[in-house]
Every structure is written in structure tokens, then in C-alpha cells.
């Protein structure tokens, strides 16, 4: 495992809703790390995962895993996806609808190692559903099956593309725990795409911040995110759900990560770049908030 460092140096021109952009990524990822790719839609996160998996071909560059070259434009190498030994989990589960849970998981396993499959089913709490078809499962259970199936291949890498974004908050937390557990058991190098800052802090050993096709930061979440860059000690992240005009200012309604609703005033210079649905940080000095015993 020590040798299985992923070395990425890839470029690809993308055409997105925002226009043309060159995705250009140079980074090495150590074996066993759990790295969360964080960035806006269209920043290139999914394309990067697909290039590692071999589902999208880079315009230029190399992808090396330990001593193996998976892709090299200079040497004309492009290893097919099935040879890359990767477990891929998608947001929409992508299970085989006509197969039982057991067979879905076993499908990923070349040797049909029954003991290992049973162990996976047990680890993901799926033993009692082994004979059910995916349509009889909840979203959270389906994603557990998808995770177990991906791990069944004993992959060198797990690539998870927003695996939890279709699930509601409670299920998401328990699936996050399962991902952490699976990672600590298998110690498989894992790349996970997420939009959710809370998820980044829960899961990531390292976060790769991608903006406009470039890496804007790579390191521990604490070091990458702003907590440290802004002196304000009260920091809440959330989503703007409503903007109302009041006299000469605006009243924003923000739903926080903890599902609390807060109201905050904003002025013309703020509002120019804010729209409903934007993720924002609301911050204040440690001095300002008042505290009351409940």
C-alpha cells in the first residue's frame, strides 16, 4: 500500500454552463487517505473522479498509481476502467434492479468469496435484506449496498461522487459513520465529492478545494477553511432561503447547517452578489452576541 501513491497531473478542457474552462490538476495523494473534493458545481470535481476511473479521458497528462501508469498522453497509455481496480459509488446508487442485495454486492467480487461478502453485508447492516431486490430498500439502504458492492472488489481506490447528497440529514449522518468505519477497516484510499461543509469536516482527513478547474487548497479542513482567516469568532454557515427588501436594507433568512433559521440584515453592497439558494457564512465578533440561559 505504501507504494500506491496516486500521482495526478491531468488537463482537460471542459465546456460548462459557465463557458469554457481548463481543468488542470497536479497533486499526489498518499495511500490510505480519505480526501474530500469540495467546490462549486461545475468546478471539475466529478470530471476529476471520472478521469481517475478511466470513464473520461484527459486531454493531456499522466495518472500514476504506485509504479503503474494508468494514463499517459505522451506514451499513449489509457488503461480501461475495469483494469483500474476502483470502487465507484454514485449519487443515484446505480444498483442492478433485477438482482438481490447479495448478488449486487457479490457482483463486484471476482472470487465470489462468500465469507468476505457476508462480512460486508454484516458491516453495513444488510444481512437481513440479503435476498431483497433494491426497489424494496430505502435510499440509505440502497447506498449501503452500493458502498458494500464497491468495497467487494477490494479496490485500491474508492471514488464516491456525492454519495450522500440525495439522503436526508439523519440518514446522511449514519452513512457518514459507515463510510468512516469502512475506511478505517479497509484503509482504502478514498476520494469523495461533497458540497456539504459539515460533511467535509466530519469525513475528510484532507480536503481538496477545487475552484474553476484548479486546486485552491489541499490540507486539513481546519487549515483550508476560513475559520482561521477571519477574526470573527461566531461563524455559522447556511443557505439563504429568502431575501426581503426593508426600507434601505435587506433582511436575509438563512437556514443553518443545524437547521436553525436565522435572520440577518444586509446592505446594498452585500446584496449585489447574493441570491436565494446561495451558501453563505454569517459571522460576528465574539463580543457582539448576547447570551441568555434557557
Amino acid at each position: 500500500m505504501e507504494n500506491d501513491i496516486i500521482e495526478l497531473d491531468v488537463q482537460k478542457e471542459l465546456v460548462s454552463a459557465y463557458g469554457r474552462m481548463v481543468l488542470s490538476i497536479q497533486i499526489s495523494i498518499s495511500a490510505g487517505e480519505l480526501v474530500v473534493l469540495f467546490g462549486e458545481s461545475g468546478a471539475g470535481k466529478t470530471t476529476l473522479l471520472r478521469m481517475i476511473a478511466g470513464l473520461t479521458t484527459p486531454d493531456n497528462g499522466t495518472i500514476k498509481v504506485g509504479d503503474e501508469v494508468w494514463f499517459s498522453s505522451a506514451r499513449g497509455i489509457n488503461m480501461p476502467p475495469q483494469k483500474r481496480n476502483i470502487g465507484f459509488v454514485f449519487q443515484d446508487y446505480a444498483l442492478f434492479p433485477n438482482m438481490s442485495v447479495y448478488n449486487n454486492v457479490a457482483y463486484g467480487q471476482k472470487d465470489r468469496d462468500k465469507i468476505f461478502i457476508d462480512e460486508l453485508l454484516q458491516n453495513f447492516g444488510l444481512t437481513e435484506f440479503a435476498n431483497r431486490k433494491p426497489e424494496k430498500l430505502s435510499g440509505g439502504q440502497k447506498q449501503r449496498v452500493a458502498l458494500a458492492r464497491a468495497l467487494a472488489r477490494k479496490p485500491k481506490f474508492m471514488l464516491l461522487d456525492e454519495p450522500l447528497s440525495a439522503l436526508d440529514a439523519g440518514i446522511r449522518t449514519s452513512l457518514q459513520n459507515e463510510i468512516l468505519k469502512a475506511h478505517s477497516i479497509s484503509n482504502t484510499t478514498t476520494l469523495l465529492v461533497s458540497h456539504d461543509l459539515a460533511e467535509v469536516f466530519r469525513l475528510a482527513q484532507k480536503v481538496m478545494l477545487i475552484q474553476d478547474g484548479k486546486i485552491k487548497g489541499f490540507g486539513r479542513p481546519d487549515d483550508i477553511f476560513i475559520n482561521n482567516q477571519i477574526s470573527g469568532k461566531v461563524q455559522i454557515t447556511g443557505t439563504i432561503v429568502k431575501i426581503e427588501t426593508q426600507d434601505t436594507f435587506y433582511l436575509l433568512t438563512v437556514v443553518t447547517g443545524m437547521n436553525q433559521i436565522i435572520k440577518v440584515t444586509a446592505f446594498e453592497s452585500d446584496i449585489a452578489e447574493l441570491t436565494e439558494g446561495d451558501r453563505v457564512m454569517v459571522f460576528s465578533k465574539a463580543f457582539n452576541p448576547l447570551v441568555m440561559k434557557l
Binding site: 487548497g217 482567516q229 477571519i230 477574526s231 434601505t248 444586509a266 452578489e273 465578533k285 463580543f287
Partner: protein, 163 residues
């Protein structure tokens, strides 16, 4: 949000309380912070940072006399006033920066503010937050969007700075 670039002059700490004295152009300003942990690396003398504060915390004085505890006093000229029924937004030139103060329309009338009035904008040190000015790390979009303006202002504060 008002954002003005400034350079840290001195940092005084006592326990978890940190008083940071800065200069924006030739105007001194102070920010009072709470930081029980180690100070972040960017909070050092000579660093360029952004001082940010809310429009509603910025007061306006005309012909200020007597003694007052506020140390942050920015000489400004009124550029325009957006009068609301209760609250007005006063746009001010502070050197080459534009800042805004939200005060009651009643106060705008009492101070007889009009375009061109010379005023002092006042804010308590504990209302000012500081933000790291970094080209490497993640920046909130609000800061990113303003970086080009901020950079040109920094050039004038500190011409030898390369951006």
C-alpha cells in the same frame, strides 16, 4: 459589509484579548479581538489585512467636540444618501475608499447631512473584524470579487507591494 484594506502596526495582547492597531492610508484604526488560542500566523506586524465592519455599526458625527471613547474616527465626505422611511444609507468617501453608514433618517435630518458634508465616521474597536488577505488559500467569494479593487487600493497604500 464595509471592507477596507489596512496594514497592521502593533499588536497588544492580554490573556485572550488582542488589540490590533492598523493604518489604512494615513488613518489609524484599531480592532479589538478575542483569541484565546494561539494568534493565527497572518496576524503579525506589517501584514496587510482587510478590516470589515457592518454598515449599521458605523456612526456619523458632524463638528464633533468634547471627549469620546471611540478611537476609530474616519474623516469622510458624504457622497450620497439613500433615504428610507426610517433608516437611511449614507455613502461616504473615506480617502479612496467608499464606505456606508446606516443611520436613522431622523439622524440624517438632525445632522443636516447632504452631499459634500464633511463628517467623522465612528466605530468601536470591538465592531471591526479582520480578514486574512491571501492569494493562496480559499477566500470567501465576497472577498474574491472585491480583490481587484482591494489590490489597487493596496498598491496605493504600499506601492512596493507586488500583486
Amino acid at each position: 459589509m464595509n471592507i477596507i484594506p489596512a496594514i497592521i502596526q502593533t499588536i497588544t495582547t492580554s490573556g485572550g484579548v488582542v488589540l490590533v492597531d492598523l493604518h489604512s492610508g494615513d488613518c489609524p484604526l484599531s480592532a479589538l479581538l478575542v483569541d484565546a488560542d494561539k494568534l493565527p500566523a497572518w496576524l503579525t506586524t506589517g501584514q496587510q489585512v482587510l478590516a470589515v465592519f457592518k454598515e449599521s455599526e458605523l456612526s456619523i458625527a458632524v463638528d464633533l467636540s468634547g471627549k469620546i471613547s471611540l478611537r476609530n474616527r474616519f474623516p469622510c465626505i458624504v457622497r450620497s444618501i439613500n433615504r428610507g422611511e426610517l433608516l437611511s444609507l449614507v455613502e461616504l468617501s473615506f480617502g479612496e475608499h467608499i464606505i456606508h453608514s446606516a443611520i436613522t433618517t431622523r439622524s440624517v435630518n438632525a445632522l443636516e447631512l447632504t452631499t459634500g458634508t464633511q463628517v467623522l465616521a465612528l466605530i468601536k474597536a470591538n465592531e471591526i473584524s479582520l480578514i486574512q488577505l491571501s492569494t493562496q488559500n480559499y477566500q470567501p467569494k465576497t472577498i474574491n470579487n472585491k480583490l481587484s479593487t482591494i489590490n489597487s487600493q493596496l498598491q496605493t497604500i504600499n506601492p512596493q507591494l507586488k500583486t
